[in-house]
């Protein structure tokens, strides 16, 4: 099907034979999490395209933290984010988790757990748990990281799958507070217009 519409172009080809899924014709995606202030939790901000996690970190820095305050960020491959069922109304995502197999305490590793506190908001880091699978991590979090309010989605990410800001890189955002000119609101167009009109009134 020939079309300039990307929604049409990206449709899978209809074929009678079973064949492997075509590889991506673009760079993969990485999820970006930003910490706006010290002692504030990391929050999901969006995605970047990159060839690997190191480049994703570099590109995420300017894509998501070139304005406003930021003290650190981390990135992870989208394929390393494990997602619970999405719920709505007052249904807690933890209550609709599939059953986990018995925890054998084998090959446990640290998982970061994120909650979606409101539909339409961003996922927020709430803590970490030790588990041997993402589903088991969510079950662990159900017992230890809930504050009573329903959450509408849970993400679990292996801690060793993230590229975190290093100690030496904390300086990267040092001059950000001085770059208010990057925020459109810093350009006081209304004030300038008022001054101009008053000046030309007489």
């Amino acid at each position: 099907m020939k079309s300039l519409d990307p929604r049409v172009n990206r449709l899978p080809e209809i074929s009678n034979e079973v064949k492997p899924k075509a590889p991506l014709d673009q760079l993969g995606t990485f999820e970006v999490f930003v910490q706006a202030k010290e002692n504030k939790p990391f929050q999901h901000e969006g995605i970047v395209h990159a060839s690997d996690i190191e480049l994703a970190f570099v590109l995420a820095k300017e894509t998501f933290t070139r304005r406003f305050t930021c003290v650190a960020l981390f990135v992870t491959d989208t394929r390393d984010v494990f997602v619970s069922p999405l719920t709505e109304s007052n249904i807690n995502a933890y209550d609709v988790l599939p059953d986990a197999t018995e925890n054998l305490k084998q090959n446990e590793e640290s998982f970061l757990i994120f909650h979606l506190p409101k539909r339409g908001k961003q996922h927020v880091l709430v803590g970490n748990v030790m588990a041997s699978s993402p589903l088991e991590a969510m079950h662990q979090a159900k017992n230890t990281l809930q504050d009573g309010k329903p959450v509408f989605n849970v993400w679990a990410i292996r801690e060793n799958a993230i590229r975190m800001t290093s100690e030496e890189e904390l300086i990267l955002w040092q001059s950000l507070p001085n770059k208010k000119y990057r925020d459109a609101a810093d350009y006081k167009a209304g004030d300038k217009l008022t001054r101009f009109l008053e000046k030309n009134k007489s």
């Binding site: 060839s51 820095k61 990267l172 955002w173």
Partner: protein, 251 residues
């Protein structure tokens, strides 16, 4: 004499930043992918901001207002090295220039962080994070593309050959070198070039690119004394076009 030496140093740093900032901003909207477009544009903006800070220092030392200095001079009055004024060409050239220039700039400001001229030392501390990001960005891209495909390696290699003689022009000898060193304002271009070569050798060794023997390279000098390529004046004309319509306008 110390003041003249300091001004010469400040002018070449600021002019380098302004001209390369403008050149790099020409990629805005045309970068190879959206995220890279944003990153390269942000770094270009950083460079213009850094040049502004130094033009302010020059103003404190008796030179004209930053806008006047930036927009009203002709090419022969600029002290930037010729490397920064060369046209962008393809992205491979811009990336190689980014690596070569920003590596030098990082070391230069590292030296300046202990300068006896306190405003310069303060600025070096303030923008350290920006410079660290610029080198992180350059090193990451060059390491990736310098080991990726035959095409990316060949293209970077070609650009490296073209850019290296111009990059040596960053360190064009200054008539005030000894004064700057004596007064502990700056460690000097010779020391800077030595440290830069070692760093560049290290980064390139992580790729499949090769460096020409430093001894056979012929540095392209002249920029620091106002001798420029035919590319600078058109850049200045375009950069100052709006300002010159009404130099007194408040934006």
């Amino acid at each position: 004499m110390e003041n003249i030496a300091l001004k010469e140093l400040l002018y070449k740093i600021a002019d380098d930043q302004l001209i390369l900032g403008h050149r790099n901003s020409e990629w805005t909207g045309m970068g190879p992918l959206l995220e890279e477009d944003i990153a390269f544009s942000s770094m270009a903006q950083d460079k213009v901001g850094q040049s502004y800070a130094i033009y302010q220092m020059l103003h404190q030392l008796g030179e004209q207002e930053p806008d006047t200095v930036a927009f009203m001079r002709n090419a022969t009055q600029f002290h930037n090295c010729q490397l920064v004024e060369l046209p962008n060409g393809e992205y491979d050239f811009s990336l190689i220039r980014h690596l070569l220039f920003d590596t030098a700039e990082y070391i230069r400001f590292d030296y300046l962080s202990t300068s006896s001229y306190q405003p310069l030392a303060d600025l070096a501390g303030k923008i350290k994070g920006e410079l660290q990001y610029h080198t992180l960005h350059a090193n990451t891209l060059i390491k990736k593309l310098g080991t990726a495909t035959e095409e990316s390696i060949n293209r970077l290699q070609h650009s490296l050959q073209v850019a290296l003689p111009y990059a040596l022009g960053i360190f064009e000898p200054s008539p005030y070198e000894n004064i700057l060193i004596e007064h502990k304002i700056f460690k000097g271009e010779v020391a800077l070039q030595q440290a830069w070569q070692e760093k560049i050798e290290f980064i390139i060794s992580k790729t499949q690119l090769t460096l020409t023997d430093w001894k056979v390279l012929q540095p392209v000098y002249g920029g620091r004394v106002g001798r420029h390529t035919e590319h600078l004046q058109p850049l200045l004309d375009e950069m100052s076009e709006v300002f010159k319509i009404d130099p007194t306008a408040e934006w």
